[in-house]
Amino acid sequence: MEKRIVITGVGAVTPLGVGARTLHERWCAGDSGIADGFARCDDFSPEDHLPRKLARRSDRFTQLALAAGAEALEQAGWETDAPPYDADRVGCIVGTGIGGIGTLLEGHDVLNESGAEKVSPLAIPLMMSNAAAAALAMRHNLRGVSYAPTSACAAGAHSIGAAARAIAAGDCDAVVTGGAESAHVSIAHAAFGQMDALSDSGISRPFDARRDGFVMGEGAGILVLEEFDRATERGATILAELLGYGATSDAHHLTAPEAHGEGAARAIALALRDAGLAPEDVDYVNAHGTSTPLNDAAETKAIKTALGEHAANVPISSVKSVIGHLLGAAGAVEAVATVLALAERVAPPTVGWEERDEELDLDYVPDGPRDLTSGNGRMVAISNSFGFGGHNAVLCIGVSS
């Protein structure tokens, strides 16, 4: 990174509840937000978090992003409608995999049943994939660069990487960033199911020999990134530092990862190079770990390629074991979870991991949360995200002791 970029606020809404700390604590406790093969944010009611007009003008994925954003900004000590910098230099980059598909389908039903004249004029602005980015920018008066990366399950991590680059390039002093997803509609369940991507057993058990697909989740994660000098000047509390970012493409297959994880390994290596760190500096890996046979095998190979012999010494865990796969929100929620894991110096477990796959022989933290130790005092983690289309995005995050 050409500039130091720090994280001053985090927020999350997940199937484990509302709040980043709720996610961390319940994950460490081994609680699961998965029921009947799906993971939903049942604790989230938009009216508890949003004015009526804003809730009405937002698809659920945007509502989740707004709630997570409010939490992140509050933690960063920002006013709701006035960032602590020139608003023109504050960006808002919030990705999604699918966008407002629920709104789209409702509009389609109305069209078929009642005709074009009855279709809501709100259908497009709610459905569009940039709706969450737009809603956060409007609500919080963020007037710099704003858009929505859409790279399937890498969108959250790509958003955070793009946000960091916007600060590093000098375009912004701060960026509100992350990802959001809410796609629990029957067409998505059916289509992911027909791809054999969803778990038939309804159990998310990343890296376990019995893993049989992912469990679909929903939620949002939002982070406040600030340029280090500016954050220090305003007296901000620094939670973590975004040390590096690496992104690559497999250029291989529409859905399957390249089996050796070569593209993923390059993304990890790029993130470490961007951070100026060596493989031995990595204290924890927050894995993409989807619980699909292909991902978890390719990711294990990628970690081995990128970290070499050190791979065997690093605790690796996947929050998807308790919240399922949040698709375009996954990378952002996992970045939030990584910040808290480093801050608390604990590697949360891959809950439910029991049976070793002989090919998957790394340390997946199966037996409950593990204290993290670091040789040099600064805790460093990488957070992996890989999306359909072969998109790989890796964040390197550090917390000083």
């Binding site: 004015p51 004249e117 809501s120 004029p121 602005p125």
Partner: protein
């Protein structure tokens, strides 16, 4: 169209719609401007769909700029509904 449409009924239906759009009920008066109620062109399109459904009255895009207050909208709907 129901035969018993009254101006009061139209006013009540418009108020209900504005409340649903997110306006504060206590702020909704005949003199209140849509701008003050934070009711915008997208809301007015929805209001148009509602009055079309309820009263068979069409509010066109060209009508919208002329509607500044709640009372303006109720007047126009009532006029077109023959009340």
């Amino acid at each position: 169209m129901p035969e018993t449409v009254t101006r009061e009924a139209i006013q009540a239906r418009v108020n209900e719609a504005l409340e649903e759009f997110g306006a504060e009920p206590s702020d909704i008066t005949p003199d209140a401007t849509f701008e003050a109620l934070d009711v915008d062109s997208l809301d007015l399109v929805e209001l148009g769909q509602i009055v079309q459904e309820e009263y068979g009255v069409e509010l066109k895009g060209e009508d919208m700029p002329k509607l500044k207050t709640v009372g303006d909208a109720v007047d126009l709907i009532a006029e077109r509904a023959g009340v």
